[in-house]
């Protein structure tokens, strides 16, 4: 279950082209490339002519979709990791005008971070078209030290910053683009259950 019952968690309805947009920016991470490739039939030459694709392959998966994306024929730029991709997205959005549509596809942590970039440009999150693809790993903020740990697949896990044992609470902040991590053995220090791979 993807936890559709967590009411603070966004829903990711899936990519669909907004035909009237004057510009389309696609930020795709890892398996998120497939979300765009699957609707390639809707990418008319007109749409492609107004599109910019930003892509980062997910290292752990080894395979990239560079070739397939490039063949679409839109402006294409590939980043080596997520951080430069977000930097480039920031630049694109700062130069975009009214009528630009943003599309995000990939893991939830990636979508969350790209949403933060978009929010900094005053883009209404409800206008961003999203699709969750790939790993269900969670991006988690430690509620104690406020450090963010990326790619959390198990609960409990060790905070990468303060070292506390955290469980992942079913509560998501769009502002932070992260789930909440809470110390699991606060009441009885040392009483930590074995981790379960819940978010593969």
């Amino acid at each position: 279950m993807q936890g559709a019952t967590i009411r603070s968690r966004p829903v990711y309805p899936g990519l669909a082209i907004a035909p009237l947009a004057r510009r389309h920016i696609f930020a795709l991470e890892g398996e998120g490339a497939g979300a765009l490739l699957d609707i390639a039939g809707d990418l008319t030459p007109e749409v492609l002519g107004r599109s910019q694709i930003l892509y980062v392959a997910r290292g752990s998966l080894g395979v990239g979709h560079h070739g397939a994306l490039q063949t679409l024929g839109a402006a294409f730029w590939a980043a080596p990791t997520v951080q430069p991709l977000l930097g480039r997205l920031d630049v694109e959005l700062s130069r975009s005008h009214m009528g630009t549509r943003l599309y995000l596809a990939g893991t939830e942590g990636f979508i969350g971070q790209a949403m933060q970039v978009a929010a900094a440009h005053g883009i209404d999150p409800a206008s961003v078209i999203t699709e969750h693809r790939g790993s269900r790993a969670r991006r988690v903020q430690c509620v104690h030290c406020k450090g963010v740990t990326e790619g959390v697949t198990a609960s409990p896990f060790t905070c990468g910053h303060c070292g506390l044992n955290l469980y992942v609470r079913d509560h998501y902040s769009r502002r932070l683009g992260a789930f909440q991590g809470v110390n699991i053995d606060a009441e009885e220090p040392g009483a930590v259950p074995p981790p379960e791979e819940l978010y593969l």
């Binding site: 603070s8 968690r9 509620v143 509560h171 502002r175 809470v182 009441e187 009885e188």
Partner: protein, 355 residues
């Protein structure tokens, strides 16, 4: 009737006490009947328990709409300490400035009206003078000009008001928690929740969403009118009279929950009640949410026979999800067993007030 109870609530002296370390917090005997006991019957379920916030029984926490009591100074000192350690307990998104001024006005007006011996507000056009005698403050400022106050208006007035405060913006048919000062919370994080809407910040609450509680409550609140505030009571329990039970500091206070024994229930276990009031703000159309907290240890609760009978019955009636959410699981039974000694099984009268 008890004279302390029928008398108007007019705090003259403030207790010198702590909410950490040696935990010297206590209620003086005259203040016990001031406590807003939250159970009007012998069992408890979530409900849309909203009623008009109008002045209530003299001497009770409901007498004045913004209640000040003998814990005022100690609570303000604890708040200052929390903020010094963790500035993220105060948050205000930029578009909330007008709502900040609305809030400052409301809290100054209400406190000065109810407690003229403690607070005075002089308004001369936009030149305002605020005197807070317990805290030794006498400031003159220009209403609407943040540069004339030592802090942002919300920060300034929250440091002089008992209770946590959240400020909501209303838009898109929802309420958005876009500002607040939260230093005495029952285990939720303003820093995490700021910017969320009504359904999002309530996401961790069990059972209530399925009961439709939040949908109905939101619908009601969206139509709240200026000058017609409403209130509800919420409650939990806290081990030791600690105000700062935030998620941030959970490793500090979590271990307290394992320290309850049959011998120390009376001293350690506290009923913690939030008298929550909601106010439409006139200029910003925002909403003010005051979470006024009260704590009372079991020894004090059972001095009111009706409360001593009722509380163990309520605790026994709780659905397990609710007990777990409120963090009572480790000490609930020990507390019930202790309280049962004060329950002779006699029927209790309806309503929250002592007989």
């Amino acid at each position: 009737m008890d004279t302390a109870y029928s008398a108007t609530h007019r705090p003259e002296t403030f207790r010198d006490e702590t909410f950490r370390g040696d935990f010297s917090y206590a209620n003086s005997p005259g203040n016990i009947r001031h406590f807003p006991f939250p159970f009007h019957e012998d069992h408890y379920r979530y409900s849309v328990n909203i009623e008009p916030h109008v002045p209530g029984l003299p001497g009770s926490a409901f007498e004045h709409l913004i209640d000040v009591d003998e814990h005022y100074l100690a609570e303000m000192a604890d708040r200052a300490q929390v903020l010094a350690e963790d500035p993220l307990r105060y948050q205000a998104l930029p578009h909330m400035m007008l709502a900040q001024w609305d809030t400052l006005e409301l809290l100054m007006e209400e406190q000065a009206r109810a407690y003229p011996h403690l607070f005075t507000l002089e308004r001369n056009g936009d030149q305002w003078r605020w005197i807070n005698r317990p805290l030794g403050i006498d400031d003159t400022f220009t209403f609407g000009d943040p540069s004339t106050l030592p802090r942002e208006p919300l920060d300034y007035i929250c440091r002089q008001t008992q209770g946590d405060i959240a400020l909501m913006d209303q838009r898109e048919g929802n309420l958005w928690m876009d500002a607040g000062m939260i230093t005495a919370q029952a285990d939720w994080s303003l820093d995490f929740d700021v910017g969320m809407n009504f359904h999002e910040w309530h996401a961790p609450v069990p059972l209530a969403p399925q009961m439709g509680v939040f949908d109905r409550a939101l619908k009601y609140l969206l139509n709240l009118q200026v000058g017609k505030p409403v209130r509800r009571l919420n409650w939990t329990m806290t081990i030791n009279p600690r105000l700062d039970t935030s998620p941030e500091t959970y490793p500090k206070w979590g271990p307290d929950r394992t320290t309850v024994t049959p011998e120390n229930v009376g001293q350690k276990v506290h009923l913690r009640v939030e008298l929550q009031s909601l106010w439409r703000l006139p200029r910003s159309n925002g909403m003010l949410f005051v979470i006024r907290g009260y704590m009372m240890r079991m020894d004090e609760v059972v001095t009111v026979p009706k409360w001593g009978r009722r509380l163990p019955r309520v605790l026994e009636s709780l659905p397990p999800e609710l007990a777990e959410y409120k963090g009572l699981s480790r000490y609930r039974q020990t507390t019930i067993d202790w309280l049962k000694r004060h329950d002779d099984g006699a029927p209790t009268s309806p309503g929250i007030f002592p007989d």
